[in-house]
């Protein structure tokens, strides 16, 4: 029986971190040199943690399965990073950022962690500027901000549409500096396949050298998992192709708990699936909904006609279109939050009114916006606002200035020109709020095993706000873990370096090797990819945007049957001890099967609707999400169990500083 | 002083040497053309021969000319070494290459340079060597200077009656034009001068230069071949 202790420090919420920081156990510099830390992953969290720990004097070993630490998927984040700087003098503060994040997370996150996140947010910006991150600037040379995702202040710092890239390159450069100083040993093309525990504490990992295929043991005093989220369990997501849950899942199988795995964020505006060969989905910035109108045809014959290409969407008469968001949510219209917009799109497509061949797409139409802007422009420049050609030309220019780069990306991928025909969009899995359960120190239930960034569950509750993922990754890596890791390591200053020849390492390595050989020896008929695709579909259908008990149960059965087939019929070509991308995929998919099942179990347990998790049983009369604070204000931390059902441990959530409210967008 | 050798043997240092020697040679071409255009003066060669005499006997010019020879040699040798290293940097070649991503001239600087070099050898063997190191040239006296001077003009006239030599000159100058087409702007770029503001100007001047100068040189053999007998 595990007792969950979040180790939240005493005191008022605004003082907890400060006081804790100044009273926690430290490790003296001469001792730091003797202590080794393994960091798995080099995204924002992993790279920043590796660099900061090395700067402090710890001996760091950092692992990535990529060919270079700079490739981690943090690089693809577009929008920006939040920080409570109040540079705009618009009333922003640490408390406001804290409040927005807790509320945005639909009251399923831990107050103390979120407040700490808000506190260190400002330091992140300073650090990144000092590293040379080229944030957008005002004419006067000060940092520029933009507003994001429904909050009332402008607190998002950005570097064009490539903020994630610039922040990651900053962290990568800090990491590179420590590599050059000999403080970090960098292991590229190494994939962590297991955690090694010695006397119940995490003391190392088994990693596969992806080039040679050799299994290698690495020992240290503690292990940090920074391996990102698990959105790829759905096969199609906006995650990178190689993003996976394996590092976190292996930790979970060694005794760490997986918290709130069913909390996945779905982004409403992605480029839809165009065929069965599709490998991933591309996000289109949410800002498009400011001017685009979402619709599908009313009549089924029009749906058939646009699908087969006989009819162009612009030829469908106004009265034959269903602007369903405007119809259902007159107050917010096309600007309802991500989860609401996503579910509404699913509903109309479930009715059969999806507008592409797969039936899974809706229109996002800029025609009205072009005319509206065009008329205003014509009027203000003294031209005839009734002249269609002029108006269209002027309006197109305005839209181009606002969304030109997004329209370009869209055209590059689809070949359609969104100035002339409506975009086709569909929701897609984007981010996972759930992850390894960690306490205030970011330590899992396995002593010495830490989890940071998207890999942990800690700060976003049931829904993440825009521009907060980058903030959390860097907060954990630069400003939280380097301190809190001391609480564990300060007890280990007399522990000599561990040998990787200990029996624990040999045993774990053998287990990994057996597991890989098992996959190689199945020699069945189906490719790994085909299993992954099918697994993704099951989860999308039964544990996707909208969930119900019956579906979840059915999904679990289907998943188990598929898993069984996987272990008897998968074909993995090649050998263990060589460069073998198919084997890599197979291990990831094997882990996704187990995680997927846990997600279903978690979703089934949580019979309320909150944030990204919508249970059809828990909705208001007008089909809106209904949270159940009385019964579900807890973190669901799960222990995997090979023999039977996963075991649930609950961490009750206490809200002393924010008042729980219900969201409404009518 | 190891920094100097470090500097000059680094890839950027080598580039700098190519650029500086190249720019010197570019300047030389202007002087050379200006002098040689005197061949077109219809005075039986007096102006040109007087000029040639001055150029081969003046102490300062002599001194400068050794610098010029050195620069030519450095430019050639360094160029060949760089080209060999560059070729070696891709041991396994592409099956398909895209010719549109860069210009013919820029890809083939070493080849063009070698062609120019062979042309230069022919050119110098014919005139410079004969002028400086042999007594094959007839002597001629002009009122303007007190001594007899070598009649290089007549030698030039004779030489350019041969169609094949004129052809070599045309090809050599074509190679030179292409070499300059890339080399001119490239030399400035290497020095760090590349900016939206002034690079279009440098490029334009370079293109005009690489057309005008070789044409200027080309006129001379054509003039003798077609108009002088």
């Amino acid at each position: 029986m595990i007792k969950l202790d979040a180790k939240i420090p005493e005191g008022h919420i605004s003082e907890k971190w400060m006081k804790y920081k100044s009273s926690m156990d430290l490790v003296a510099p001469n001792n730091k040199r003797k202590l080794e830390v393994i960091v798995v992953g080099t995204g924002l969290a992993g790279a920043s943690a590796s660099a900061s720990l090395a700067e402090l004097g710890y001996k760091v070993k950092t692992f990535t399965f990529h060919d270079s630490p700079r490739r981690a998927h943090s690089i693809a984040a577009q929008g920006g990073i939040n920080a409570a700087k109040n540079y705009r003098n618009d009333g922003d503060s640490v408390h406001r950022l804290f409040y927005d994040t807790v509320k945005g997370g639909d009251y399923r996150s831990r107050e103390a962690n979120v407040h700490r996140l808000a506190e260190v947010s400002a330091n992140i910006i300073d650090q990144c500027v000092a590293q040379g991150v080229p944030f957008a600037r005002e004419y006067g040379g000060t940092l520029d901000n933009r507003s994001f995702g429904g909050v009332q202040v402008s607190r998002t710092f950005y570097a064009r549409g490539q903020t994630g890239q610039q922040l990651l390159i900053g962290a990568y450069q800090a990491l590179s500096r420590q590599v050059s100083l000999g403080n970090v040993e960098m292991y590229n093309r190494h994939e962590m396949l297991d955690v090694v525990k010695v006397d119940g504490k995490a003391r190392g990992i088994i990693a596969r050298n992806l080039l040679t295929g050799e299994l290698e043991s690495f020992a240290a005093h503690c292990v940090v998992i920074a391996s990102g989220g698990y959105g790829n369990v759905y096969y199609l997501s906006t995650n990178a192709m190689n993003s996976n849950v394996s590092a976190a899942w292996r930790a979970a199988r060694r005794g760490a708990l997986m918290a709130n795995p069913c909390f996945c964020q779905i982004h409403p505006t992605c480029i839809p699936v165009s065929g069965t060969y599709q490998s991933k989905l591309t996000l289109m910035s949410e800002s498009l909904r400011n001017d685009g109108r979402v619709w599908v045809p009313k009549k089924m014959e029009d749906v058939e006609a646009v699908r087969s290409g006989k009819l162009k969407p612009i030829d469908i008469a106004e009265e034959d279109r269903d602007y369903y968001l405007e119809r259902k949510y007159p107050a917010f219209g096309n600007l309802v939050p991500r989860d609401v917009a996503s579910r509404a799109a699913k509903e109309v497509c479930d009715e059969g009114r999806g507008v592409n061949q797969s039936g899974l797409a809706v229109y996002l139409d800029f025609y009205d916006a072009i005319l509206r802007y065009g008329r205003a422009e014509a009027f203000s420049s003294g031209l005839d606002p009734e002249d269609y050609a002029t108006v269209k030309k002027l309006g197109t220019k305005v839209i181009e200035a606002k969304y030109g780069n997004l329209f370009e990306i869209y055209e590059k991928i689809t070949g359609d020109d969104p100035y002339r025909t409506p975009m086709r969009i569909y929701p897609a899995i984007h981010y996972t709020m759930g992850g390894l359960w960690v306490d205030y120190n970011l330590e899992t239930t396995v002593p010495g095993l830490f989890a940071i960034g998207e890999a942990n569950f800690s700060d976003h509750g049931a829904n993440r706000l825009g521009a907060s993922a980058l903030m959390q990754g860097l907060a954990d890596g630069y400003f939280v873990l380097p301190y809190t890791i001391g609480t564990f390591l300060s007890k280990d200053i007399r522990t000599p370096a561990f040998s990787k020849d200990l029996p624990e390492f040999k045993k774990t390595k053998q287990e990994v090797e057996d597991r890989l050989n098992q996959l190689l020896n199945i020699k069945g008929e189906r490719s790994v990819e085909s299993f992954h695709r099918e697994l993704g579909l099951i989860l999308w259908d039964y544990c996707g945007m909208s969930r119900n008990a019956e579906g979840l149960k059915k999904g679990r059965e289907l998943l188990r049957a598929l898993k069984k087939e996987f272990y008897s019929n998968v074909f993995v070509p090649g050998e263990l001890k060589e460069f073998n991308p198919e084997l890599e995929k197979a291990t990831k998919v094997a882990d996704f099967f187990e995680l997927g099942e846990l997600m279903i179990v978690d979703a089934l347990d949580r019979n309320e609707s909150c944030g990204g998790h919508f249970r059809e049983e828990s909705q208001t009369e007008d089909n809106e999400a209904k949270r159940d604070d009385e019964n579900y204000a807890y973190v669901a931390a799960w222990q995997w169990n090979d023999e039977g059902d996963p075991v649930l441990f609950k961490e009750p959530l206490v809200f002393d500083n924010v008042k729980l409210k219900t969201r409404s967008y009518k | 002083m190891s920094w100097i050798s470090n500097f000059l043997t680094s890839s950027l240092g080598k580039k700098l040497i190519m650029s500086l020697t190249g720019l010197f040679l570019i300047t030389f071409l202007i002087v050379h053309l200006a002098g040689n255009l005197q061949l077109l003066i219809d005075d039986g060669g007096e102006a040109f021969n007087t000029y040639a005499h001055f150029m081969t006997n003046n102490g300062l010019i002599k001194f400068l000319s050794y610098g010029l020879y050195a620069f030519i040699l450095i430019h050639i040798i360094q160029g060949i070494l760089i080209a060999l290293k560059n070729r070696g940097a891709r041991a396994s070649r592409y099956a398909v290459t895209n010719r549109k991503s860069n210009s013919f001239a820029s890809r083939n600087m070493a080849l063009l340079g070698l062609l120019v070099f062979f042309f230069l050898a022919v050119h110098m063997g014919d005139f410079w060597y004969k002028m400086k190191f042999t007594n094959e040239l007839p002597m001629v006296a002009y009122a303007g200077i007190g001594v007899e001077v070598k009649d290089l003009y007549t030698r030039v006239n004779m030489a350019f009656q041969e169609w094949w030599l004129v052809a070599i000159y045309m090809l050599g100058l074509l190679a030179l034009a292409l070499h300059l087409w890339h080399g001119f702007q490239s030399a400035f770029h290497t020095l760090g001068l590349n900016h939206k503001k002034y690079t279009p100007f440098i490029k334009a001047v370079g293109k005009i230069y690489s057309i005008v100068i070789p044409i200027g040189f080309a006129i001379i053999p054509l003039y003798f071949f077609f108009l002088k007998n």
């Binding site: 660099a51 990529h66 060919d67 270079s68 490739r71 998927h73 690089i75 693809a76 910006i125 300073d126 500027v129 590293q131 040379g132 080229p134 957008a136 600037r137 004419y139 006067g140 040379g141 000060t142 940092l143 570097a159 450069q173 800090a174 590179s176 960098m186 990178a240 192709m241 060969y277 490998s279 991928i413 490719s527 990819e529 070509p573 090649g574 460069f579 991308p581 198919e582 | 680094s10 890839s11 950027l12 240092g13 760089i82 560059n86 940097a89 891709r90 041991a91 396994s92 592409y94 099956a95 398909v96 895209n98 991503s101 860069n102 820029s106 890809r107 890339h182 770029h189 760090g192 001068l193």
Partner: protein, 249 residues
């Protein structure tokens, strides 16, 4: 559409490679990499060995995908990575030749996968600002003119894919190295150690076995992010002035 693919097959860096010919049926909506996914699936179905190629984000930002397509790194479309290239730019009956990035400094590891760790080592040589966590002053205490921030961003938008090396007739890494030198030397934070940085980075670049730059600008033409060769000119300036101004012997 029916296509003929000539794809490079190479077991590892020690062995010689050769082209293999495959026929494939593709649709115009597919991305280039999805077409290769389909090919690999077909190969696996026949119990063969799929082609190894690197890819990750498939959004054109991580820089993992490589390969030279009909002589062009990242294929025929300007400002487009391989992962964003779509099959509608090809037509029925086309033959496509797919090769790895070729350069001694980027040895082939398997099929289309090459080792680009030389780039990491160039950054490790000095492509950073020496500031440790916690040492930073307030973000707005360093004012940076908007245009300068823009230029620094343009240089910093390099994705480290190596197309510049692949495209360069000399396999030179000047565009990559200069983009980082430029990015950091444009900003006041980076100028402090600018001279030291450029010297170290150039020395490392030379050590890695890349060719010399001969200003053909093929790198700029093929760069999927449109990094300008002006950065190379800037690095030359920085390097020359660093060489003559620093006090080392």
């Amino acid at each position: 559409m029916k296509l003929t693919l000539k794809i490079w097959r190479q077991k590892n860096s020690q062995t010689k490679g050769k082209f293999e010919v495959h026929k494939i049926e593709a649709t115009p909506e597919m991305s280039f990499l999805e077409m290769l996914d389909v090919l690999n699936e077909e190969i696996i179905e026949k119990k063969g060995e799929p082609f190894a190629f690197e890819h990750d984000c498939r959004e054109g930002i991580c820089g993992t995908c490589s390969m030279v397509i009909n002589g062009q790194p990242h294929g025929p479309m300007a400002l487009t990575t391989t992962c964003q290239l779509h099959m509608r730019h090809y037509k029925d009956g086309d033959t496509i030749v797919i090769e790895p990035f070729r350069a001694n400094a980027f040895p082939v590891l398997k099929d289309l996968v090459v080792d680009r760790s030389a780039f990491d080592r160039i950054i490790q040589a000095g492509g950073f600002v020496s500031v440790s966590t916690g040492q930073a002053p307030d973000g707005n205490s360093i004012l940076i003119e908007q245009d300068v921030a823009r230029d620094a961003f343009d240089a910093a938008s390099c994705i480290g894919c190596g197309a510049c090396v692949a495209a360069c007739p000399n396999a030179s890494a000047m565009l990559f190295t200069s983009a980082k030198v430029s990015h950091l030397s444009l900003l006041p934070q980076g100028q402090v150690e600018g001279a030291k940085r450029v010297k170290k980075m150039v020395a490392q670049m030379d050590k890695e076995g890349f060719g010399n730059c001969s200003n053909t600008y093929a790198c700029e033409a093929e760069c999927p992010k449109g990094i300008s060769v002006e950065n190379i000119a800037k690095m030359n300036r920085e390097y020359f002035s660093a060489m003559v101004s620093t006090s080392d012997k």
